[in-house]
């Protein structure tokens, strides 16, 4: 578009390049340090500290972790179960609710919308919520306690509603004339069109579940329910050993590699997100512009 750069503009483009590169590098560099640390020898870290490139490449930390992978597998399992079920159910209900709220000819839609939005205005706070979950619904140490908080959010419903509003209304009208049911219209006609919004909101929901640690902390004593992030949290705060297996400590690794193991565990816990996020980014940027700003 602007092929020629005048001399006066040159300073801007140089500055712009510097700023963008700087931000991008700063955002990734700390994570690279972590990756490098996880491939370092424990002794190097205590001697020289963390470096961008490992002084002596080593797989000790990963070997140590994988020698007794019980906790990692259980964490992955818990996180996956919660994320998959929570995202599927949450996304479907969010989309369905957005569809209903976007229907102007349905007079109750506005009242329903207010009922939902009001919860962003006033809330009982964490304590009453906690007591409801633990004392009255008796959900402590159940999967429900990890899935139900965060299943639906008013802002996600708003995004869906705004997206549906942008779909030509004739689609729905003609289908109604043909005698199709509302649920059918929603699943057969609207859901396929709603893909960009589904991707965006689905990512919001999935990310919140995957990165969650506080629900495990509040609602789960049973270790099989601990999410990967919570296991990582306990580990990094010295509340738990990653390897309960006493054999692992006695095997070829003579010193317990605490720092490198912590970092290797961090990399393992981030894993799927690093692989997935460049893929969903497209939808994400697209969907953000659809209805995130406008309430």
């Amino acid at each position: 578009m602007r092929k020629k750069i005048n001399r006066g503009d040159l300073s801007f483009h140089i500055l712009g390049n510097l700023v963008i590169w700087f931000v991008a590098i700063m955002c990734v560099l700390p994570f690279l340090l972590l990756v490098s640390g996880s491939f370092s020898q424990e002794a190097d870290i205590t001697l020289y500290g963390f470096t961008v490139i490992p002084k002596n490449f080593s797989l000790d930390a990963y070997r140590y972790l994988l020698s007794s992978p019980g906790k990692i597998i259980s964490g992955y399992k818990a996180s996956l179960i919660v994320t998959v079920i929570g995202t599927c159910v949450g996304l479907f209900v969010t989309a369905m609710t957005g569809y209903v709220l976007a229907r102007k000819e349905f007079l109750l839609a506005d009242k329903f919308a207010f009922f939902i939005y009001f919860t962003t205005l006033f809330s009982g706070g964490l304590l009453p919520y906690y007591m409801l979950m633990v004392r009255y619904l008796q959900l402590k140490n159940t999967w429900f306690a990890l899935i139900l908080p965060g299943l639906l959010g008013p802002f996600n419903i708003i995004i869906m509603k705004n997206f549906v509003k942008g779909i030509p209304h004739e689609i729905c009208e003609s289908a109604l004339v043909d005698g199709a049911g509302e649920f059918q219209i929603f699943t057969k006609l609207y859901l396929p069109i709603m893909k960009p919004a589904l991707a965006t909101v689905g990512m919001f929901i999935a990310l919140a579940y995957w990165n969650n640690w506080s629900n495990s902390m509040l609602y789960a004593d049973r270790e099989s329910l601990h999410s990967l992030q919570y296991i990582l949290y306990r580990m990094s705060n010295g509340l738990a050993n990653i390897a309960d297996n006493p054999d692992a400590a006695l095997s070829e690794v003579s010193i317990m590699p605490t720092q490198t193991v912590k970092m290797a565990m961090t990399i393992i816990a981030t894993g799927p997100i690093i692989l997935l996020y460049p893929l969903v980014q497209k939808y994400f940027v697209q969907g953000m512009t659809v209805g995130a700003v406008k309430g």
């Binding site: 483009h13 500290g49 609710t97 649920f183 992030q229 995130a292 309430g295």
Partner: protein, 311 residues
């Protein structure tokens, strides 16, 4: 008479669209149970709770919980921290996000490089605060943190970051910016792309260089988005960035004096389970201020641009 007619109309309409009622039901039930039922729990704030009697049976004690919250000095410090940290975050992040968006949309750069760099800046948004806290520990820890490594290798004195509370407002501001910049700039980037190219052409014909174009076209065109986003964050000013504060500071009692916000205080109190009445009072206090703030902000938005009003 008229009201009756409208009521009849509403009923007829509801019957006609009863399928939609069924479809909305799961969400309505969810919010009724998990948002409205806990609202009744705020009566705990006016009670001296004991486990045996439960919420209803425990004796009332008027405003004693609030009084204690105030007299303990916690009310002032917690409110101050929550408020001021958020103000700093809003100012710093808005400036940084807008600048990055403007640079991303205006700088001459190969399209693929730009895309990759933007992806890179989004990385922190996708990482959990647990992982961020480990990253920050690796950067700042006294014995082998990267930053102390750098300082000592340059002949300086290592800094005891986790033992000196005074630096933490800066660290938290930086951490908050780091996590948010890629994500936060997306909204402004979209706004930049929405600017009518004719405006730029007109400016170019008038002989304006890129600096002038940005100053007189881009920035004014971004203003509505900036105002809306800022007002929205002002509405949440009493809700702190709980995950960040809890993960980065944790239970470090020396630093907590400078960084404790309402959300972390309530979370710890819930885990300890000691004084439920007081905890409920703090929660209610936070909710009420939030409510007032959002109402005020909504009024401001309505005055500014009714299209952006929340309700």
């Amino acid at each position: 008479m008229k009201k009756k007619k409208r009521k009849g109309e509403l009923w007829k309409n509801t019957v006609k669209y009863r399928q939609l009622v069924w479809m909305a039901l799961p969400a309505l039930l969810y919010f009724a149970i998990f948002s409205y039922v806990p609202m009744y729990g705020v009566i705990l704030a006016f009670k001296r709770y004991n486990f045996a009697d439960g919420i209803w049976g425990s004796p009332w004690n008027g405003l004693a919980n609030f009084e204690f919250f105030y007299k303990s000095g916690k009310m002032v410090t917690l409110t101050g921290h929550t408020f001021f940290y958020n103000i700093i975050f809003i100012v710093v992040n808005t400036i940084a996000n807008v600048s990055l968006a403007v640079f991303l949309s205006e700088t001459v750069m190969a399209a693929r490089v730009r895309k990759i760099l933007q992806s890179m800046s989004l990385l922190p948004y996708f990482i959990s605060w647990v992982i961020c806290s480990i990253i920050f520990y690796n950067l700042f820890n006294y014995d082998y943190g990267v930053i102390n490594n750098l300082i000592t290798s340059l002949g300086g004195e290592a800094i005891h970051v986790y033992g000196s509370p005074n630096g933490w407002p800066y660290i938290l501001t930086a951490a908050n910016l780091w996590k948010d910049i890629g994500y936060g700039s997306i909204v402004y980037l979209a706004a930049c792309k929405g600017i009518d190219p004719n405006l730029y052409e007109a400016a170019a014909i008038d002989g304006a260089g890129i600096w002038k174009r940005i100053r007189f076209v881009t920035i004014p065109m971004l203003k509505p988005t900036v105002v809306t986003m800022t007002l929205l964050s002002l509405g949440r000013i009493m809700r702190g960035n709980f995950e960040m504060f809890y993960q980065l500071v944790g239970q470090n009692t020396r630093i907590i004096q400078k960084t404790d916000i309402i959300d972390t205080y309530v979370f710890r109190a819930v885990l300890d389970g000691t004084d439920y009445g007081l905890t409920a009072a703090v929660g209610l206090y936070q909710s009420l201020i939030c409510c007032v703030m959002i109402m005020a902000v909504n009024k401001l938005i309505k005055m500014y641009d009714p299209d952006y009003a929340l309700f």
